[in-house]
Symmetry: C2
Subunit: 339 residues, 2 copies
């Protein structure tokens, strides 16, 4: 299996990008191709013992930054590390693409300039996977489509379920929940109510509306929302848990007994952090494009990069793209035939 990794993705690229790729190649014997500035990549690679590893470099004369507008990247930077890596996926020279770079850019380059979308997919969805008390839950869409239509939401649900089943090993019939402001039927906004109505008619394991508290109680394997609401959920979770952590930190400093007890608990707190941190999973699959594309945070460290490569490996092993290609038209046809 060959994974193309954008070496110019993280905020401090190519340091963590190259390091993470080396870790992935070493731990899972993956063949990794790094795209980006050849000189810089070579300089980084020289820091590690790569004996016995298969790591190639493909030079890319351009790099996309976080400030580049997705709309102008296509024509403006046709030789970027993203373009070159994604072209390899398109041309079957690589099985997957991993980047910690500009999400909008990766989406645009994939959709408009390289692999394109899977036939029948209305809109690709950005997904996030993170474990709730150890059990992986996939959230889709978390940011690709700020406005959505019910039919798109149904596809997000289906693609998320396929990913859960094939790449996360959740179960053979993942529970699909629709993120809503109330679990009762009829709750939600117009989009949610219309989507719920369609999902209920399809041969999917639709468990109905789920509120955030149910999401954190493992009552769904796939949590479906439009990209705006999904993004707010994820960012609120991150900001809210950080806010609580900061409060604990400040409060503990109030007296010497608490400060000492807090010091004793430092390893416990850092263990908790790795368990609840959404970035630990390393990458978000962009579902619906015609190739495996995993996008991570710009602030990722080498562990997050490595984990994103592992995420790509799972998606490739689960043959996600072909399963979406096959099942999606079946379900959508059903949708049209059932009144």
């Amino acid at each position: 299996m060959i994974i193309a990794v954008d070496a110019m993705g993280t905020d401090a690229c190519p340091v963590a990008d190259v390091h993470g790729a080396v870790l992935a190649a070493r731990e899972r014997g993956l063949h990794v191709v790094l795209t980006g500035d050849e000189t810089a990549i070579k300089r980084e690679l020289a820091k590690y013992n790569t004996t016995g590893l298969t790591i190639d470099i493909v030079h890319a004369p351009q790099a996309i930054t976080m400030h580049d507008k997705p709309s102008v990247i296509g024509k403006g930077k046709p030789d970027s590390s993203m373009h070159i890596a994604l072209k390899m996926v398109k041309d079957k020279q690589a099985d997957a693409f991993v980047t910690m770079g500009n999400t909008g850019a990766a989406h645009a380059v994939a959709m408009l300039h390289t692999v394109g979308r899977i036939r029948g997919v209305k809109r690709p969805a950005l997904s996030a996977v993170f474990p709730v008390f150890g059990h992986p839950v996939i959230f889709t869409d978390i940011g690709a489509n700020a406005d959505a239509k019910p039919e798109w939401m149904v596809q997000f649900a289906l693609m998320g379920a396929i990913y859960a089943e094939r790449a996360l090993g959740t179960s053979s019939n993942p529970r699909i929940g629709l993120l809503s402001n109330g679990e009762e039927e009829g709750k939600g906004n117009t989009l949610i109510r219309e989507t719920a109505e369609i999902l209920a008619r399809l041969p999917l394991n639709f468990v109905g509306n789920v509120e955030p508290k149910q999401v954190f109680h493992n009552q769904a394997d796939v949590v479906v929302s439009d990209g705006f609401v999904g993004n707010i959920l994820l960012k609120t979770y991150e900001a809210g848990t950080r806010y609580l952590s900061e409060h604990i930190r400040r409060t503990i400093r109030a007296n010497i007994v608490w400060t000492l007890a807090g010091a004793a608990l430092r390893p416990a707190f850092s263990r908790v952090r790795t368990k609840i941190d959404t970035t630990e999973v390393g990458g978000a699959p962009l579902l619906g494009v015609d190739g495996v594309v995993i996008i991570g945070h710009g602030s990722s460290n080498e562990i997050a990069v490595r984990n994103a490569v592992f995420q790509a490996e799972r998606a490739v092993s689960g043959d996600i793209v072909n399963h979406i290609r096959q099942r999606l038209p079946e379900v959508m046809a059903l949708l049209e035939s059932v009144p």
Copy 2:
């Protein structure tokens, strides 16, 4: 000042409702009127020393439960404790109404059967106030309108700003932020982009889009959203921080040193809890109805009930209703005159 308190609101009514009202009457010398089952209220009141307090009882033969549908309550329970208390507000026999009961029902009874909306208000908005590192922030709408239009959002912003200024003492020119998935101009869904465009043209202290992390960094005094997204934000915050707390609790139990350190920190953790708990504030103002209406959680204890009564007191002292009545038409007129 006379505050009408629904004694039949909490899940275990009238215990916490009556207790909270007694605390409020005692601490702030407020005149409280309890509406509900007279016998039950008298039995509860007898538990406390009410010497020197002004606490009246107005009997209500009916009570609304959490399971009653808002749509059928109006005609079905015209003599409920909510109807009777809100009629007192309408008839100027009380200055405010406080309930821990069914939110949808309180909304419906206020809007359709008693006080109605303030002239010019498109839709009332449910708001939540909670302190971010000690500084009160008002979120509006957090649940009254699952679907919203830009003009409604502008009114939510204005009503929230008036509340912040007059009842929370935030500043004379509260910073209004529009909850979005990115802070850059042009981010957000269609509703957010259209609302931002209008807000930018008005004489308001509009600071632009705010992401959840900025909300938790005190970068806005008023956080505006539609009721669906606002509700998801609030519930994700609550569920996410509880999830983190539960993780800490479980992790600390892993060994004896951590367990002991955790025991020493128990008072610190509970201090943090009271600071980050959204229910501590006690009640959410329903803005835009023609009277002060504060709605709290059904699970409230006596402290939350007391705090909700205090919230009502602040809203009355700030003369919120009249300020909305005066400023709203001015701003809306401006909206029509400016292209």
